[in-house]
């Protein structure tokens, strides 16, 4: 028997376990798609759908009659209005169908017909009234200047990319760890590894390390694409962004470990995964701001780890936040990770 056979390259158990995990991941084409390609695709598609457009002129109708000519002339001159000359009946129908947002009657003074619950209708009313008053001889007391804001940082895609990054860190953290552990348990591999002289901390540590290693290209691909192709800003430091992402990945690895601590089957763990992740998809501000939820829900929304991660990522990327203002949310994230790790180790089913 060769005593130290293969001495050329003998790696330690932690390194070998990590390497095995990375090999498994990179040899799984589906995993590569979901981890790398999908977030970029989503950012590109949503960025396109919600791209910034020049403000559109509001369609309105002017009812034909003796005053119509002068009113059409006054309203056509307005940049944000698009008036049409229609008969009374046609104008009513166009309003009812939503083709126009306001109808100007032919009376003197005119009557505006509009739906006050529609923001566009209310805006049209203000513009129409101002234009007609001015045409009738009213002088503006002063003219306010307007600074129009379309710079990067305030667009929907800028809001979206940090949310997608957070969602990706959650998804891959939970699935990457949970799935492989349950497959290993189901196929007796976990039991076989426990029967071998290998530390349990190494078995789980390898999962975490491979997760952290994978985070770099995974987050990197999305960020590079978002920054260079979509012009999403990165105002904070790269170190902060890396730190926040790593902490998030650790926290969700802990949750993944906890979710996978008991189930024996893929079906079982899939159900649990969805139970944990679906609320965060909805409530953690991936696609829209958490401010939209009623005040009663806010304590719940802000207790979720993904909310904390998304808020921190947005603060770093869009506002250039440093460490101090983020400490409470980072602490919350860390607590989620630490508690789920501790509980997972306590209840973990090794066979």
């Amino acid at each position: 028997m060769a005593e130290a056979a293969g001495a050329a390259r003998v790696r330690g158990p932690l390194a070998e376990l990590t390497l095995a995990r990375i090999r498994e991941l990179t040899r799984e084409p589906e995993a590569v798609f979901w981890v790398f390609v999908f977030p970029i695709l989503l950012a590109a598609v949503l960025g396109l759908a919600f791209r910034s457009r020049p403000p559109e002129a509001l369609p309105i109708a002017v009812v034909a009659g003796p005053h119509a000519g002068a009113r059409m002339a006054a309203l056509t001159a307005e940049r944000d209005l698009k008036p049409r000359l229609l008969t009374e009946a046609d104008a009513r129908q166009a309003l009812a169908r939503g083709h126009v947002v306001l109808v100007v009657s032919d009376g003197e003074p005119p009557i505006y017909s509009f739906d006050p619950t529609q923001p566009e209708s209310r805006t049209a009313r203000l513009s129409v009234d101002a234009a007609l008053q001015r045409a009738a001889g009213r002088a503006d007391v002063f003219t306010a200047g307007g600074a129009e804001l379309t710079e990067p940082g305030g667009r929907y895609v800028d809001f979206l990319v940090p949310g997608l990054l957070g969602m990706n860190i959650m998804g891959t953290g939970m699935w990457g760890i949970g799935f492989s552990l349950v497959v290993a348990r189901n196929g007796n591999l976990l039991k076989r590894l426990v029967a071998a002289p290998v530390r349990r901390s190494h078995l789980l540590g390898a999962q975490l390390i491979s997760r952290m290693i994978f985070l770099v290209p995974e987050a990197g691909a999305l960020l590079v694409f978002a920054h260079f192709a979509l012009g999403v800003p990165l105002r904070g430091s790269l170190a902060m962004l890396t730190g926040v992402s790593l902490l998030g990945a650790l926290a969700f690895s802990g949750l993944g470990l906890l979710t996978a601590a008991r189930p024996r089957t893929i079906e079982g763990v899939s159900g649990l995964m969805n139970f944990v992740m679906v609320p965060m998809w909805i409530f953690s501000g991936i696609f829209f701001s958490t401010d939209r939820f009623p005040a009663r829900l806010q304590p719940f929304v802000h207790a979720l780890p993904l909310t904390a991660l998304n808020d921190c990522l947005r603060a770093v990327m869009l506002e250039g936040a440093g460490l101090p203002p983020l400490l409470p949310e980072l602490a919350l994230l860390g607590a989620w990770g630490a508690v789920s790790f501790a509980v997972a180790l306590k209840i973990f089913r090794w066979q």
């Binding site: 003998v10 158990p13 426990v194 029967a195 071998a196």
Partner: protein, 317 residues
């Protein structure tokens, strides 16, 4: 080579192992002593408690009652020091499908401070040509041999093989037997569970027959068969009308017959000499007008020992 053996005691010792799963009693007071350097077999039907016993000995399961000593030590904590001296093959292990065969053995090699090279372990189980293949592409027999290679990679003093040939084709089974015989030559201790009596008979120095969580017989395969008092078994059947005319005492009185057992219309006789017993049997049947519908003879095996002890066959449990 393996480290000098620190003590000359037995390889395995357990006393009064009891394990219950709710109402089910998997082990009902199991005692075992396995000597160093022997190949010891646990033979019994499915559900006899063999796997539970082995997993307790491997430190993967904890008994409700009883004591276990493995290579002179007891299971404590993670038992890493003890595990380094053991090789384990579970009944079925699904290795990661996306890893190559060599990568799996290299991974397991990294757990041990000393042992075989990955290539060496693979050639030991005849998988050297598959070293670069993905686990996914292996046949059932090849996967089982990979599992054996991982059990051997730490050059263990004591090897546990839990049903190593269940579900294998005859050729893979013979290959596995040759590997185990090679280990015996090198003085390794092997504990093997099986429900194939020919496997136990061929490989094992001693066999414990296990039923309902207890050892019901323990000896060398030869002595176990000899305990039947005769080396051959004659089985025959008659139609129902004829069966009524036969009796156990009448059959037992035939020359060379040592034992009689009846299963509905068929009879099993353990006999010392077939050439003396069969003509007399046929004559006796003819006297009573009973025509045999079926008659076979074979050398007595461990299966016959099991049937003599329990009245049941090994395979049907």
């Amino acid at each position: 080579m393996s480290s000098p053996q620190r003590d000359t005691g037995g390889a395995l010792r357990c006393r009064g192992l009891v394990k219950r799963y709710g109402e089910v009693v998997a082990l009902a007071g199991l005692d075992l002593d396995v000597r160093r350097g022997e190949c010891f077999g646990l033979l019994g039907p499915n559900g006899a408690g063999k796997t539970t016993a082995v997993e307790i000995l491997e430190g993967l399961n904890v008994p409700d009652e009883g004591e276990v000593e493995v290579l002179g030590e007891t299971w404590q904590g993670d038992g890493l020091a003890l595990r380094r001296r053991l090789g384990v093959q579970l009944q079925e292990t699904k290795f990661p499908e996306k890893l190559r065969v060599r990568e799996v053995t290299t991974l397991f090699r990294s757990f041990y401070r000393r042992g075989l090279g990955a290539a060496e372990a693979l050639s030991l189980v005849g998988l050297e040509e598959k070293a670069a293949a993905f686990v996914r592409t292996l046949s059932g027999g090849q996967k089982q041999r990979l599992s054996l290679a991982c059990a051997l990679i730490g050059d263990p003093e004591l090897l546990f093989l839990d049903e190593p040939t269940t579900g294998l084709d005859p050729q893979s089974r013979r290959q596995t037997w040759e590997i185990v015989e090679g280990l015996k030559v090198r003085g390794r201790t092997v504990l093997i569970t099986t429900h194939y009596m020919e496997e136990a008979a061929r490989l094992c120095d001693r066999v414990a027959i296990v039923d309902h969580g207890r050892v019901i017989a323990l000896d060398t395969p030869r002595n176990l068969v000899a305990s039947l008092g005769a080396e051959h078994v004659v089985e025959f059947a008659t139609d129902e009308a004829a069966a009524a005319k036969l009796s156990a005492s009448m059959l037992a009185a035939l020359p060379s017959v040592e034992g009689v057992a009846r299963e509905s219309d068929s009879w099993r006789l353990t006999v010392r000499e077939v050439h003396r017993a069969v003509p007399e049997l046929l004559a006796a049947l003819a006297d009573r007008g009973a025509e045999p519908t079926h008659l076979t003879t074979h050398h007595a095996t461990l299966e016959d020992v099991f049937m003599a002890l329990t009245g049941r066959r090994l395979r049907d449990g």
